[in-house]
């Protein structure tokens, strides 16, 4: 509730006051120069300005996790992250998670045939990747806690959990 209330204030107050500015963003090890409104969430810079559409819009208030990306290796919700707040930090999106689409999680997703509609899966993978960076062999409870903010409307949760365990070599 806190986040959404804050965000809506943010939008209400800023819409007429914001101004265009130039930003240098480091995304998937490449430099991008963009000219956008300072309040533009990273999500829309990625999708509409740069054309990286793998990061998805689901709710706009950090409640579903579809827009999850990494900022200096930590998972963040790009739908509420104003571009002006990013500075020098390295951004990693699903397109840059691995060079050949063969991150252990991506391999495990294939093995378990995880997706149904597939729309949430980029966010699920990015969140899981952040977890596995911090915790090599997470317990079921640690997985559930890390993934608790990720919605899968199709209900593929059990396969997501199984795939995370496979990627972490947990039998």
């Amino acid at each position: 509730m806190g986040i959404s209330a804050k965000l809506s204030n943010f939008i209400e107050l800023k819409y007429t006051a914001s101004f265009m500015a130039n930003y240098t963003l480091k995304i998937n090890k490449k430099i991008h120069q963009v000219e956008v409104d300072e309040d533009t969430p990273l999500l829309w810079v990625l999708r509409d300005t740069i054309g990286l559409v793998g990061t998805k819009y689901g709710c706009g208030i950090a409640q579903c996790g579809a827009c999850s990306v990494h900022l200096d290796g930590k998972v963040v919700r790009s739908c509420i992250l104003p571009v002006a707040s990013i500075g020098n930090k390295q951004i990693t999106t699903i397109e840059g998670l691995s060079e050949k689409g063969d991150h252990p999680l991506q391999r495990a997703w294939r093995e378990h045939d995880v997706p149904q509609c597939g729309y949430c899966q980029a966010g699920q993978i990015m969140t899981a990747a952040s977890l596995l960076k911090d915790v090599k062999k997470p317990s079921d409870q640690q997985i559930e806690e890390a993934m608790a903010g990720q919605i899968c409307r199709c209900g593929t949760y059990n396969r997501i959990k199984a795939a995370i365990k496979t990627a972490a070599n947990i039998s």
Binding site: F19, D37, V53, C64, R107, D113, C154, K161
Partner: protein
């Protein structure tokens, strides 16, 4: 790249057409919609051929042996983009590793039913898909036989290689361009025996897997077209309201906003980015008027309850004499079950791209009913139907919401008025507040009991803006009870309602399956045995052609679920509930295991038995069943949309609760082995879930749940 069109099959459904197989499709969709079937390991991309030969609307063969199979139906997460081409590939007899799958655009000339709805894709297209593959195979074999001067019937095929008795061999890729003049009637081809299947009934991974897990463009929302603009639309905030006046001066000051356009009762803000369009919409000031009283859930509830006591002018089904049965009964059990509205909440919000020009109407987007939407658009814009072209994208969920083309129509109207290529995107708030909801519904169920039997059954429905569809009165327990009456009442409302995954049965199944659990208890019968006895009764009526469901198949799934769940033999800390339902031509039984965790009932595991005939792609079929069960439980436990002054109480996921990973039970799935015509799985696993859980929670807590969402009811019960 050269494309050669085969002339065969003009008389039949597998027609060749330049529009279906020729340059237009290749030029427009090739890069965006080709997908390689996935293997467990990544292998290099298939090399594309120099020449394609179009065999028919469903497939083309490359000179290097690579095959493209068109997936005709919209992909909404039900896996048809993998499973339908598998069926073609099976009969074509090719190596699945050499297959590229391409999403077909809307093509009413070549395809019969491009719909994602009613769990019917596989069931309806099973024969067409097999014939498409088998006919192409027969043509290729005939061409090879002609080259060799032998009888085609002496040739054999394995993985795209044709062999003669004398040892000649030729690949499909080599022979295809010599087959262009051969015509074979699809009705005359021989189809494979089930025991010869090498692709069907084996696990094949999602053909879009690599794109999904690496974030490549795939969904409607990902559509980018040169010169396109983004539109965010302000719609009436409450149902029943109309636009009176508006001020767009601040909206037009927002950076990136191009234009503000009123259409009907809505206002579209056009901008260079979604963010600017959304900000522009927030800056609009609009006044709304309301001619009819504003609706609220309390009012609905009072009116629905009152309707339950009325006699309907026309019963939906009436067997025997219900009044007599109740008059003679030893006991009458009567219960009322209640469920709220539900939004669909597809994770990809509604969106559509349209570019309306004098020449044509070009559309791209996620839609479950492209053909119907094409007609809707043509009517609205006063155009010829053939002027409207629709490219299909993978959908980030549908659940029924994308059966309705309102968002596609909006994109077309805005493009028509602005002259620009436009993508309309709903914000989550738009998506939840401008819904076409699962209607709020109540059921009153009465059963007359005499001498340990159910002698009468009377169910009355009261539903906001809807009535159960015509087949439902013939579902279980019809034919199980001699005196049987089904009635339905509709409460008119401004709130738009529509199909929501397993329409009506998504709630009706819970009501009835919970009711039978209670009746079993009153009669002192085991809930499994009570159902088996009822199915036995229905077996006497198997010849009645109205009976779509099969008592034998119901019995089989129930016995399988009971066996696999260890029904009745669990320890004292596991509480089980059973539920069985037939819908969308598939029979499903579920047993829920509930435990008490930190003082609260928790669904630990659900054991599911399914009869859907031949299981085309088991790994994906199980996935769909698991998802259906978890979705069913999630909405029964938490789903709650209320109305106040015509507005929904929740417009985003901070206020509308969807099930999460830690709340999802294990789901064990078993299929009844048979060789029957395959049926669908998009919906049928959902309806039984709520009942199984409610019945198990009763065992665990002693509390009957008559109202969804269960969490709210449990809070009230304490």
């Amino acid at each position: 790249m050269t494309v050669i069109n085969n002339k065969l099959d003009r008389r039949s459904f597998v027609k060749v057409s330049a529009a279906a197989g020729g340059g237009i499709v290749l030029g427009f969709t090739w890069l965006s919609s080709c997908s390689r079937p996935e293997r467990a390991e990544i292998i290099p991309e298939l090399e594309l051929p120099d020449t394609w030969v179009n065999m028919n609307a469903y497939l083309k063969i490359g000179d290097n042996g690579v095959i493209t199979i068109m997936s005709p139906n919209p992909e909404v997460g039900q896996n048809v983009k993998t499973s339908m081409p598998m069926i073609v590939a099976e009969e074509l007899d090719v190596d699945w590793q050499q297959v590229i799958v391409e999403q077909a655009p809307l093509d009413t000339k070549n395809f019969t039913r491009q719909v994602a709805g009613g769990s019917q894709s596989i069931r309806a297209e099973w024969d067409n898909l097999r014939k498409a593959g088998a006919t192409a195979k027969a043509v290729l074999v005939a061409a090879a036989a002609r080259e060799w001067g032998v009888d085609p019937s002496t040739c054999t095929v394995a993985k795209g290689i044709i062999s003669s008795e004398t040892g000649d061999k030729v690949s499909y890729g080599e022979i295809a361009n010599k087959a262009v003049d051969i015509e074979i009637d699809p009705e005359t081809v021989t189809l494979k025996g089930i025991s010869d299947y090498q692709i069907i009934k084996t696990d094949r991974r999602n053909v879009d897997m690599q794109k999904i897990i690496t974030g490549q463009s795939l969904y409607g929302i990902d559509t980018k077209v040169e010169g396109m603009v983004y539109a965010s639309v302000l719609r009436p905030p409450a149902f029943g309201q109309k636009l009176q006046s508006y001020d767009d001066s601040e909206s037009r000051m927002v950076n990136g906003v191009i234009d503000v356009i009123r259409f009907k009762e809505k206002i579209a803000v056009l901008a260079h980015s979604n963010w600017a369009a959304m900000k522009g919409k927030k800056a609009l000031k609009a006044e709304w008027i309301q001619d009819t009283p504003a609706e609220n859930t309390e009012g609905h509830n009072e009116q629905l309850i009152a309707l339950l006591d009325l006699e309907a002018s026309e019963p939906r089904r009436k067997d025997g004499d219900i009044a007599k049965a109740f008059a003679e009964a030893d006991q009458v059990v009567e219960k009322i079950y209640e469920a709220p509205f539900l939004p669909h909440n597809c994770l990809e919000p509604m969106n559509f791209f349209a570019h309306v020009t004098e020449e044509k109407v070009e559309c791209i987007g996620p839609i479950q009913t492209p053909a119907g939407t094409q007609m809707q658009i043509a009517r609205a814009l006063d155009r010829e139907r053939d002027d409207v072209h629709i490219m299909l994208t993978r959908m980030g969920g549908g659940f029924g919401r994308r059966l309705y083309g309102d968002f596609a129509l909006e994109a077309c109207e805005i493009s028509s008025l602005s002259g620009k290529p436009v993508q309309v995107l709903f914000t989550r708030e738009d998506d939840m507040a401008s819904g076409i909801y699962r209607p709020a519904t109540k059921y009153k169920i009465r059963a007359g009991l005499k001498d340990g039997e159910i002698t009468g059954y009377h169910i009355t429905e009261a539903c906001v803006n809807g009535n159960m569809y015509g087949l439902i009165p013939n579902f279980f327990p019809a034919w199980c009870i001699d005196n049987y009456l089904v009635e339905s009442h509709r409460l008119d409302s401004n709130i738009t309602i529509g199909a929501w995954r397993a329409p009506y049965t998504n709630f009706l199944a819970y009501a009835e399956q919970a009711f039978f659990d209670e009746v079993a208890e009153v009669l002192g019968k085991d809930p499994v045995q009570l159902r088996l006895d009822l199915y036995n009764k229905a077996k006497q009526h198997k010849d009645d052609e109205r009976m779509q469901w099969s008592p034998d198949r119901m019995e089989a799934v129930l016995k399988l679920a009971a066996e696999k769940s260890d029904w009745g033999n669990k320890g004292s800390d596991v509480y089980q509930g059973v539920s069985v339902y037939y819908s969308h031509n598939t029979h499903v039984a579920e047993v829920a295991d509930v435990i008490i965790k930190e003082g609260e009932p928790f669904v630990k595991k659900v054991t599911v038995a399914v009869d859907c005939g031949i299981v085309v792609n088991p790994i994906a079929a199980k996935n769909l069943v698991e998802g259906g069960v978890i979705d069913g439980i999630g909405h029964a436990m938490y789903g709650d949309l209320l109305f106040n002054e015509g507005k929904p109480n929740a417009t985003n996921f901070n206020a509308f609760r969807l099930i999460k990973m830690h709340e999802s039970p294990q789901v064990e799935v078993y299929f009844v082995e048979n060789n029957d015509h395959p049926t669908g799985l998009g919906e049928p696993a959902l309806p039984p879930a709520g009942g199984a859980v409610a019945n198990a929670i009763y065992k665990a807590t002693g509390k009957r749940l008559y109202s969804q969402p269960f969490v709210k009811t449990m809070e009230i019960l304490g």
